[in-house]
């Protein structure tokens, strides 16, 4: 407090301070003189001696001022004021610097918002760091993650000593029945302790309690904030309202707060006792009936490693107790990961790569501005010399220059913060494809703090580099003030080094972007194994009840028969899913166990699994997936009384039946109770995205009772109109059968490539930005060099040098610098692009074509950048040039 008031007095009561200081020193001086006189000196001599002893009054006063804290602030303000004046006097320079920095800092701000929001921000739950996700895997059977069964959950929940609770979660689609419409709601089925484990308190009403989960308990629902707002118009009296669902009245007991939902966004939540499948006695008893995700919360003071060890013991005991289920050969394992890491795993590499990329953009911008700054320093030399002659210390002048560079950087930072939100909207959409945390991306205090620190740091880096690396400039400043035009060798070397650095940074980015583009082009050239154009798919959902497995099976035939009469429809089939289904892209292939007849598994051999799809006859014909051997499914195969048949794809045939003919072999999914004969081999289809190699697939014919909900239709060309007519036709069959997720397979394919497309786009943009920055850097340095060599060029031209040789001279200098940068950049890029390997498809991180193309592109750009200053050089009038100075 005292200190503050002292600073205040120094800054704002300055007259008084100065008066007192002068009076104090005069008093001392007079006393000294009096003392001298008392010792017998004459008055003149006494005063003279006192003056000698006391020393220079002004210097002493300044030393006293320096002892004050306020002085420091005063000088800073002076520097800032002076800096602003100087920058305003050179609007071109300031604008160029601020713009360059704004691009660099803006890009960094946007990407950092993304990285912070997704990877770093604490989860928006109470003690989010305690939350863990459990996973089971059987790595030796190539199953990296499989869901939990009720039995497994109850084992882990009751036997562990490290978790406060284990919560379960799975999703279902149910029909919410309104007056005369049926609406699909994404429903999360959770254990009663789910919200307690996550630490979520309801906005309205309450969350689940144990009684809600008891068998035969009341049917209750909790709405998500989003659903409550969009579908129930935020009705404040929603608690207690009753909806029809699964043919039962369900009453709303609560609404969640507006938080991001994990692991997925859902419309409504219900307890496990209300899910018809989850609550059936048969499912509960089946240790192999797996569909749930499991979460836990660490007890206070317990770390992840302890929990992992604890769970591993339970898992090992389980495997011992049920050797027939957890085969030793499968390598069964239980894993626990922090929830935050688990949710953001898929985004991490990409985001960190982007952060690195924008870091290089900023470095290039820094080098560019440092060069501009250095160029301006040259013009300032005379002024600096004068100021230093007038007594300004070296430290003071350096501080002045540093203040200017930091001012520029902060200006650039402010402009960058203004630019960043433009990019952020696109980026959040991008992030949303990998993680539900995308909703948490925003520019808030931590992000702004980051930007501020980056700005100031940038200012110091580019301001200090020119000043420090040209030591002794004060001495030379005098000489140069006299003899202008002979730039110090050290500084022109530094300028060249900065250009080389800029080019190198840009080359690294161009290499990365080039690889991404090449990889993306390769992805687009992949043949998916079927013909996606004009294929329309939609999801069909009959309510069960009123439909039963038997009547739903009949519905499949009725729907297909009805649709085939829609004008334009070429063929139609139903299946459990379709190629490039977004849900499938996210989850990957399933792992269903099966055995092959006559091939007993030796002990020690892992379980064999495959992705399976169930289809109606006509599916292969509809999507035009070729049958390469054997036959396709017939209508006959889909009769309940027919013998079971399956078709496998080429990958499965190759992996499991190498050297033998699979056709005629039999497989079973229930340990040998029922067998199905392999009747054909279908061509491989890139079911999980064109950049994913085909997995082993078994296609089964829909037999007996049951329902499969994906309609796949080959339309005549007007996909949209026909889709509308198809929906109308189904509605006509039964208005309570909901149809949704209507899309063309082409669109799904396009969407499946959205992540690499976006990544390629972003890297391309950033690389282009860096290229632009370094091109302008080359041009600026060349222009400066031309203006410095005006006299030399003038002499050369006066002596008859042709214009071409002058242009060549300037070009040569620029090209040499660029070449040096290209060599350095290519070398660094070759080491760094390894980090991209996981994102590249069919492209080596050191792809020769890409690395060969970049120097060409760059040299071209550099030549153009040099050409402008070169032309300027030829327009120098020898007479004017020689008269200068």
């Amino acid at each position: 407090m005292n200190r503050l008031s002292s600073i205040f007095r120094f800054l704002f009561r300055r007259g008084r301070f100065e008066g007192e200081l002068a009076a104090e020193l005069r008093e001392h001086y007079e006393r000294q003189a009096e003392q001298n006189m008392a010792r017998g000196m004459s008055r003149t001599e006494a005063v003279r001696q006192a003056a000698i002893l006391v020393g220079g009054a002004e210097q002493l006063k300044d030393d006293c001022r320096d002892a004050r804290l306020g002085r420091w602030i005063e000088t800073l303000l002076q520097d800032v004021r002076y800096g602003l004046r100087v920058l305003a006097r050179n609007p071109g320079f300031s604008l160029a610097a601020i713009l360059t920095l704004a691009l660099g800092i803006g890009a960094n701000t946007a990407i950092f918002s993304l990285v912070y929001g997704v990877l770093l921000r604490p989860l928006p739950y109470l003690h989010g760091e305690q939350l863990v996700v459990l996973h089971q895997d059987a790595s030796k059977a190539n199953v990296l993650d499989f869901p939990f069964s009720v039995k497994e959950l109850s084992d882990y929940s009751s036997r562990n000593h490290t978790l406060q609770g284990v919560a379960e979660h799975h999703t279902m689609n149910f029909l919410l029945i309104g007056k005369d419409t049926a609406e699909r709601v994404e429903t999360a089925v959770v254990s009663a302790n789910f919200f307690d484990v996550l630490g979520v308190k309801p906005l309205l009403g309450r969350t689940f309690v144990a009684a809600d989960e008891a068998p035969g308990g009341p049917a209750v629902l909790i709405l998500s904030y989003q659903y409550w707002q969009t579908h129930q118009s935020g009705d404040p009296h929603i608690v207690g309202k009753v909806f029809q669902m699964n043919n039962r009245p369900h009453s709303v007991i609560g609404v969640l707060p507006p938080i991001p939902q994990y692991p997925v966004e859902s419309d409504v939540y219900m307890p496990t006792s209300q899910c018809p499948m989850r609550s059936s006695a048969k499912f509960i008893a089946n240790r192999n009936g797996r569909m749930m995700n499991a979460f836990g919360r660490l007890k206070p003071g317990v770390n992840l490693a302890q929990a992992r060890a604890d769970l591993a013991v339970i898992g090992a005991n389980m495997a011992k107790a049920y050797p027939g289920i957890y085969l030793a050969a499968d390598g069964y394992r239980i894993r626990a990961d922090g929830l935050r890491d688990d949710l953001t795993e898929r985004a991490r590499t990409m985001f960190l790569v982007l952060l690195g990329v924008v870091g290089f953009v900023l470095l290039a911008a820094c080098a560019n501005v440092a060069n501009l700054f250095l160029a301006r320093l040259l013009k300032l030399e005379r002024e600096l010399a004068v100021r230093s002659a007038l007594g300004a210390g070296k430290a003071r002048l350096m501080r002045q220059l540093l203040t200017e560079s930091v001012l520029l950087a902060v200006g650039g930072g402010l402009a960058g913060v203004a630019l960043a939100p433009l990019a952020l909207r696109v980026l959040t959409g991008f992030a949303g494809r990998f993680t539900t945390r995308a909703a948490e991306v925003r520019m808030d205090a931590p992000v702004l703090l980051f930007t501020f620190l980056v700005s100031v740091g940038t200012g110091i880096v580019f301001g200090l580099a020119p000043v420090l690396t040209t030591r002794g400039w004060l001495g030379t400043a005098f000489q140069q003030a006299a003899a202008r035009g002979t730039a110090s060798r050290g500084r022109s070397r530094l300028r060249s080094a900065l250009v080389v650095a800029q080019v190198a940074f840009s080359v690294i980015l161009l290499a990365a972007a080039g690889l991404m583009i090449r990889s993306f082009v390769k992805m687009q050239q992949v043949q998916p194994g079927f013909v996606p154009d004009r294929l329309v798919t939609m999801r069909i959902s009959p309510g069960m009840p009123p439909y039963t497995l038997k009547t739903a099976r009949l519905l499949v035939d009725r729907v297909l028969d009805r649709i085939k009469t829609v004008p334009g429809v070429e063929s139609a089939a139903m299946a459990t899913t379709f190629p490039f289904n977004p849900a499938g892209l996210a989850s990957g292939p399933s792992h269903v166990q099966y055995i092959v007849d006559g091939r007993p598994r030796g002990s020690g051999e892992p379980t064999v699994t495959s992705d399976i799809r169930v289809l109606t006859a006509g599916y292969f014909e509809t999507i035009r997936q070729p049958i390469v051997k054997g036959r396709s499914f017939s209508q006959q195969d889909c009769e309940a009384t027919s013998p079971g048949v399956v078709i496998i794809n080429q990958t499965l045939a190759r992996n499991q039946f190498s050297g033998e003919d699979p056709i005629g072999k039999r497989v079973s999914f229930d340990g040998g109770k029922h067998w199905a004969e392999i009747v054909g081999i279908a061509g491989d289809v890139r079911e999980y995205g064109v950049n994913q190699p085909a997995a082993g697939e078994i296609y089964g014919a829909l037999q007996g009772d049951g329902f499969i909900n994906r309609l796949v239709v080959r339309t005549g060309g007007h996909a949209e109109t026909e889709a509308r007519m198809i929906r109308a036709a189904i509605h006509e069959l039964d208005p309570l059968v909901a149809t949704d997720q209507v899309q063309t397979v082409e669109h799904a394919e396009y969407e499946s490539l959205a992540p690499p497309r976006m990544m390629t786009f972003l890297m391309g943009i950033f690389a282009g930005l860096a290229l632009l920055i370094s091109a302008s850097g080359i041009a600026a340095v060349m222009a400066l060099s031309v203006s410095q060599r005006t006299r030399e060029i003038g002499v050369r031209m006066a002596l008859g040098a042709p214009q071409g040789s002058v242009v060549g001279m300037v070009l040569r200098q620029g090209i040499v610098l660029t070449l040096a940068g290209i060599v350095a950049g290519t070398f660094c890029a070759a080491m760094l692009t390894k980090l991209l390997a996981s994102m590249l498809y069919g492209t080596s991180p050191t792809d020769l074509a890409t690395f060969a193309a970049i120097p060409v592109v760059f040299l071209l750009v550099a030549a153009i950048a040099c050409f402008v200053p070169a032309r300027q050089a030829t327009s120098i009038d020898p007479l004017t040039a020689l008269r200068q100075e």
């Binding site: 200190r3 002292s6 009076a23 008093e27 001392h28 002493l60 320096d66």
Partner: protein, 109 residues
């Protein structure tokens, strides 16, 4: 100037000023005179260091300045120790005694 000039160790001037002000408030001139007198002219404080030091100590809140009339009825800027200054003096004295004791032991042997 001084017959046997003893260079002041870094920070020692602060201690001398604080100690001198411990007895009574004093103006700058008084401080130089007192130090010279007590040290029997071994220590002569240069005005060029005294006044910046006084301002620095004031800025740190160890001494406080006020205007008063001096013995010959002239207005002068007086300095006095604050509570924090007294605490600082105790600490500095202690460390000085430790240091000078150590130096004396080494030099004495």
């Amino acid at each position: 100037m001084a017959k046997s000039k003893a260079d002041l160790l870094q920070g020692t001037l602060d201690l001398l000023i604080l100690k001198t002000l411990e007895l009574e408030p004093m103006h700058g001139w008084g401080v130089t005179q007192r130090i010279q007198q007590v040290s029997e002219s071994v220590l002569q404080v240069n005005q060029g260091s005294l006044y910046p030091a006084l301002h620095r100590l004031e800025e740190r809140g160890w001494i406080r300045a006020f205007w008063g009339s001096s013995e010959n009825n002239r207005q002068a800027r007086f300095y006095e120790l604050t509570a924090r200054g007294r605490k600082q003096l105790v600490a500095e004295k202690e460390s000085w005694l430790r240091l000078s004791g150590a130096v004396a032991r080494i030099v004495g042997t």
